[in-house]
């Protein structure tokens, strides 16, 4: 197993949870944490819960994914304040997380992962 973890940030708690279930099937050994929705469970993201998802992850190096741009900003702020090494990926959310998780599970090396992720870069 690689020692890079995955953090997923969605605007919806259900999307985050469902995506977690989906990739658990392909990557049971990858350290994955997630957050979805605001503190109150509404649609949105919040800085504090993103921070939590980052710190809860057992890995010190993380690939981070988000669904919509405002989630990215909370991710970035949390990343700046964290001791961890966090790379935010501007790829399509579900497909990007799936691809990364599957490759991490196989111990793929970083250039190989980045190479696959480049095909999924769609965020602006």
């Amino acid at each position: 197993m690689t020692n890079i973890g995955i953090v997923m940030v969605s605007h919806s708690k259900d999307i985050a949870k469902g995506l977690y279930d989906l990739i658990l099937q392909v990557a049971p050994n990858v350290s994955i944490t997630y957050v979805g929705g605001t503190v109150d469970g509404d649609i949105g993201t919040s800085f504090e819960t993103v921070q939590q998802a980052i710190e809860e992850n057992t890995c010190d190096q993380l690939f981070a994914f988000y669904d919509l741009g405002s989630a990215k900003m909370n991710l970035e702020m949390a990343a700046e304040l964290s001791e961890k090494e966090i790379e935010i990926m501007d790829v399509s959310f579900i497909e990007g997380v799936y691809c990364t998780a599957a490759l991490f599970e196989m111990n793929a090396d970083l250039p190989a992962v980045i190479n696959e992720l480049e095909k999924l870069m769609i965020k602006r």
């Binding site: 599957a102 490759l103 196989m106 696959e116």
Partner: protein
């Protein structure tokens, strides 16, 4: 060899039994480059097909394929459900009202199944999928040369390919040297055909 309803049923019965027997192995392959459910998916279809024959035995040759199509399409899920389902359905259509298939007709029917997979999967030979077993198997069958050894060699060649379709395509280079689960189950399909009758004789 002439394919009759009885022979076709034997073909699918052996296939179903092989799938059920290799269920764990198929899922294990899928665990590596997929989501680990290929054996379960296929065994579900196989089980349902065997049971359905108890209740409603096929009347015509095409029924064997039609019933299999229905089970795979509605009972299996995953990619293999629609893919095998479409293959079997296209085979039933190619058979039409025929009750016997001469060797050449059999080849054409299997080709129709192959085209069904291609169409449904928007896939081509060389992408490390079940098609990469079907294509060479059809070729050997056409020349009356299909053997389990050839199927074995074929699967080894598929294993060396890089996946560019299906879930495994997300893995890029890392899919190389891993067994494709759908290719493995397709090998069982052709092995079952071989066991059902002497295809290479007359």
């Amino acid at each position: 060899m002439i394919i009759t309803k009885e022979l076709a049923q034997k073909w699918f019965t052996v296939f179903a039994e092989k799938v059920i027997q290799d269920k764990e192995q198929l899922s294990e392959y899928d665990r590596i480059i997929g989501d680990g459910d290929h054996g379960m998916n296929m065994a579900r279809g196989a089980q349902q097909l065997l049971s359905s024959w108890q209740e409603t035995p096929p009347v015509h040759l095409a029924d064997v394929f039609k019933q299999a199509a229905m089970k795979w399409i509605s009972g299996v899920g995953g990619a293999s459900g629609p893919l095998y389902g479409t293959a079997f359905f296209e085979m039933a259509k190619a058979i039409g009202t025929k009750e016997e298939l001469q060797h050449e007709e059999l080849v054409n029917v299997i080709k129709a199944g192959f085209d069904g997979i291609r169409k449904r999967g928007k896939s081509e030979v060389g992408q490390k999928t079940m098609l990469d077993v079907w294509a060479p198997a059809i070729e050997s069958l056409e020349e009356k040369q299909l053997t389990t050894e050839i199927l074995e060699t074929t699967l080894t060649k598929v294993t060396a390919l890089k996946a560019t379709k299906g879930r495994a395509s997300f893995l890029g280079e890392r899919s190389i040297n891993e067994v494709d689960p759908g290719a493995a189950s397709s090998k069982l399909f052709f092995e079952a055909l071989l066991e059902a009758g002497d295809l290479n004789g007359d």
